[in-house]
Structure formats: C-alpha cells, structure tokens
C-alpha cells in the first residue's frame, strides 16, 4: 500500500504528470493521420466504447475510495470546497467520453455508408416541445433542486474569519474556475497571465468559426472530419484548463508548493526553487561577465528568442509540417491561427523551463513592468 501511494506521489510530480499527459494526449485525440494510425494500432480508440467507460469509471471510483483511507488524501478531497472538483473529474470524463463515443459511432456509420445518428428523418423524428421536451426539463429541474438542497445541508459552507489584508491564507486559492489562471500566474508576469493571456483565450474562442470555416462534419458528432480542430480544442480545454484546475485543487499546498495526493501538507517542505532569468543565464552563467547596465543589451537575447519564436516559426511551419493547412487557410487566417496556437503553447513551454531549468522570465524588464 505504501509503495503504491509513493508511486502515485511520484507520478503526480509536475514533470512526470505533464509529460505523460502531453505525450498520451495526442495519441488518444489524434492530431493527424499519423497519430490516427498509431491510435488504431495501440487500440486506443477502444477507450470510447461503453465497456471502457464502465471500467474507467470503476477504476476512478475505486481510486477515490482507496484514497479515502489515507488521512492526507481524505483531508484534501473531503474539504467542502474540493468536493465539487472531485465530481467535476467524473463529469468531465463522462461527457468527453459521451461525445467521443458518438463521434466514433458516426465515423463508423459514415464509413459503412449509413446515415449519421443525428440524421433528421422528417416527419418520423418529429417531437413536440410540449410535453416531450418540457416534461424532461421539468424532471431534471426537480432532481437538480433536490440534489442541491441535500448538498447544501450536508456540506458546510467554508465560512472563515473576516478578511484581513495582512493575513493571506496559506495556501491562498482562487475560486476553482480561476485555478487555471492562478497556475498560469506562477509562470508569467501578472500582466501577462492576468490580462493579456485571458483576453487572448476569449479572442481565440471568438476567432474559431472564422479560422475553421470547413462545413464538413457540422451538425453531428464526428472525429475523422475534424481531427486537428477537435484535438487542439480538447488540448486547450482538458490539459491547459481542466487539468490545471485539478492540479491547483489537489496538488498545490502551503506556500504554493507541489504535493502528491498522499503527501502531508508540510508548511516547511523545502524545495530548491531559486529562479534565474534568461539574461542571467547568458551573462552570469555562460559569458561570466556580469549583467550589463543597459536594459536593451541585457535583454536582447530574450527578445531575439521571442522574435524567432513568433516570426520565424510560423513561416517555417507553413513551409514544412503545416503545408496543407497553410494552403487550406490562406496566409491571413493561417497567421492568426498559428500565432494563437504559439501563444497557447508558451504556457507548457514556460512550465517546463521553470521546472527543469528554474528559468523565471525570458525577457525581464521589471523597470518597465514588462516580463515574459
């Protein structure tokens, strides 16, 4: 048992957890034909069968039940604040499974020349709003109200002492839906993670229908028609948003350190986290010259790296790996698409740079509130 708990704690360390997720992710949600081939070869498409769903749900429930025997796990998971997040894990899994299940079913039907499940056969498929729809909605409403009532009686609202600006709770956690942003704030300047990136998330979501104008596969669930779109969206949604919420809820402890799910939340847990800026790496560690006084000379390397990332990478990708996409989207839509994707990818890139090299900022100009 202790061995298993230690194993889980090890796996839950950020580098291992994120690497495993990121590698597995695009095999489970194949990005293109190459990944799709491997998805079929590794039999990962069977994940969307009913049997796999039941097994996975049982495994997850079993893990939670087993975990509850551990006092550290119990104290985190049964905290009234965190109970909904445990529920969220199951709900997100179930609805992801449901949509992927329907998508793969439709893909199969289309391959066999059949009509999709959502095909509307007038007038045989006609249903009346009243009573067919409203009746079901009414039942759902009553059940949800009853559930919320029981929940609100059963779990105490975590009301704490009056707010005090000089005493931040340790750990101080954002509301659950902002934990992704809070995690982002660990790796970025507050201006970037608090203002620029959240705005870009919204702008990016608004831009989706203008970038992806392919009418194929609209109106019904299907995966093979829209591999790239679905895989990228699910990556942003499941890995860069939901997973950060789960990590923020269960794995972030006092002093915002990482803790395994079976680890005691020790306020004095020591982690060597001395961070270094990119310019310090260059001038102090590699050149051994000491930091130059001129801000531009100091930060020129970071600026060059970022310019290369945003200006050289897009045309390079358009010429090589994303040739087809570039031809399909045209230069303007391609540029918007690739810049949004590259900005989204700065988050995992900066996470890894922080975890592996203790890199703080690629460009650090605290004198003018500009850090990236």
């Amino acid at each position: 048992m202790e061995g298993f708990k230690n194993l889980i704690n090890t796996i839950a360390s950020p580098t291992i957890l994120f690497t495993a997720t990121m590698v597995l992710f695009f095999f489970i949600f194949p990005l293109n034909d190459w990944f799709d081939k491997w998805n079929r070869r590794l039999k990962l498409h069977l994940l969307w069968t009913k049997k796999a769903m039941i097994i996975a749900a049982l495994l997850m429930a079993g893990f939670f039940l087993f975990g509850l025997s551990d006092p550290d796990f119990r104290s985190i998971v049964l905290k009234p604040d965190n109970v909904p997040i445990s529920g969220l894990i199951f709900l997100v899994y179930f609805f992801t499974w449901l949509s992927m299940h329907q998508a793969y079913q439709n893909d199969e039907r289309l391959e066999n020349g059949e009509k999709v499940d959502e095909h509307y056969d007038a007038p045989n498929d006609k249903a009346l709003v009243w009573p067919d729809l409203v009746y079901v909605e009414f039942i759902a409403l009553i059940l949800c109200s009853a559930f919320l009532l029981v929940w609100s009686i059963g779990l105490q609202a975590p009301i704490e002492e009056p707010a005090n600006p000089t005493e931040s709770p340790n750990p101080a956690k954002a509301p659950w839906y902002f934990l992704g942003l809070q995690e982002m704030l660990v790796y970025f300047d507050p201006w970037m993670a608090g203002v620029v990136l959240p705005s870009l998330i919204i702008i990016g979501l608004i831009a989706i229908p203008y970038i992806d104008r392919d009418p194929g596969g609209s109106g019904y669930y299907s995966y093979k028609n829209r591999k790239l779109s679905i895989a990228l969206f699910m990556f942003g949604w499941l890995v860069l948003w939901d997973m950060l919420i789960i990590v923020g809820t269960f794995l972030r402890g006092p002093n915002w350190n990482f803790f395994g799910p079976f680890e005691y939340w020790d306020i004095h847990k020591l982690e060597a986290l001395t961070n270094i800026n990119f310019s310090e790496y260059i001038y102090v560690k590699w050149f051994n010259t000491g930091m130059p006084n001129n801000i531009l000379i100091r930060e020129i390397w970071g600026i060059l790296v970022l310019l290369g990332y945003f200006l050289i990478l897009p045309p390079l990708l358009a010429k090589t790996w994303m040739k087809d996409l570039f031809a399909r989207l045209g230069s303007f839509r391609y540029s918007v698409f690739i810049v949004l994707i590259l900005i989204a990818l700065t988050l995992p890139i900066k996470m890894y740079l922080r975890w592996m090299f203790n890199l703080k900022y690629i460009i650090a100009i605290p004198e003018y509130f500009f850090n990236f």
């Binding site: 931040s168 340790n170 101080a172 300047d189 004095h268 986290l273 001395t274 961070n275």
Partner: protein, 190 residues
C-alpha cells in the same frame, strides 16, 4: 404648407372622415413632425441630464470629504527594541511593515508581494518570506529569488526622530531595481 393644413383639420371627428383620408388626417392630440422632435429633444436633454448627474455623483464618490486611511507615518520605538538578525513582525498587522535589524542597522520592508499583492509569510526556519498565493520567495533582505515575483519587496523611508525613536514613512518607497536602496533614508544605520 403642411403646417397650415394641420390647423384647419383639427375639429373633424375621426368617424366623419372619409375612409380614404384616414392615414393622412390629423387631430388635436395627434403627434406632428414638429412636436415629435420637440418631445424627442426634451427626452434627450432629460436623459443626458440624468445620466450626467449620475456620473457626476459617481465621480464625486471617488473624492470623499474625509478619508479614513490608516496613518502612513508611524513611530516604531527605539532601535534597541529590535534584535539583531531578526525580522520583526509587530507592525505587520497594523501598518503592513516588517522591520529587519541586521548588524549595521534597520530597514523597513513592505509586506506586499511584488507579484500580485498578497501578504507573504515570514518563515523563520527557512529564513525567507514566502507568498502563499503563487509561491514567490524573498530573502530577508527583500530580494526575490523564488517563484514569479519580478522584483524585490519595496522598502520604506526609515529615519530617527529627535527623541531617538524610529520613524517609518510609508509614503516614500525605495525600489531595488531602480537602485534606490542606496538612498540614506532607505536604511537606518545604528
């Protein structure tokens, strides 16, 4: 032309009018083009006056007659009250200041994290300030070394009064990244 016509057709009741003229005829309580515009302008003037005064009130709200701000300057006792090598927490709750005494003197650190403004905790065992919000860490000097905080904690003006007491003035801020810590008022030599 249309105006004179209006005045003439005033008295005719609606029922006596020939059906063909129904759309064009005008009665006393009917809205004419001119009265419509005068009512419209009255409406707009009223609307602008109402919203204008509302926003004036809102703006006025930002400049209260009396400001219940905590005192920005305070006396912090005598230098002998502070132990060498310790971070003093006694002014943290009231004024948001840590006084740190080292071999050479005393400096006043702001308790506001330079990342997003939470209040870090002083961890005596680890000899560092650690912010519970995003994990920023600061040395005893206030210099940032862990987590996302982009710059060191700020220092406040610290001087001696005539009676030998320490005076901390929070209105004067000294930032390391602007080379202001060398200022004689950022550090009280004892």
């Amino acid at each position: 032309m249309t105006e004179t016509k209006t005045k003439k057709s005033v008295t005719k009741p609606a029922s006596q009018r020939p059906p063909a003229a129904l759309g064009k005829a005008k009665t006393a309580d009917e809205i004419t083009r001119r009265s419509f515009f005068s009512w419209l302008s009255i409406g707009w003037v009223a609307f602008i006056a109402a919203t204008g005064s509302f926003f004036t009130m809102m703006l006025r709200f930002f400049f209260p007659n009396v400001l219940f701000e905590p005192v920005q300057t305070f006396r912090a006792g005598y230098p002998e009250d502070y132990t060498i090598g310790e971070v003093d927490l006694r002014w943290k709750d009231k004024y948001g200041v840590w006084l740190v005494r080292n071999e050479e003197g005393i400096y006043a650190l702001s308790t506001v994290c330079t990342h997003l403004g939470c209040t870090p905790n002083w961890l005596g065992l680890e000899q560092k300030f650690k912010c519970p919000c995003h994990g920023s860490g600061f040395y005893k000097t206030g210099i940032n070394f862990e987590g996302p905080a982009p710059r060191p904690l700020e220092r406040y003006k610290i001087t001696l009064a005539d009676d030998g007491q320490i005076i901390v003035d929070k209105t004067m801020v000294y930032q390391k990244e602007k080379n202001q810590w060398n200022n004689s008022e950022a550090f009280l030599k004892v």
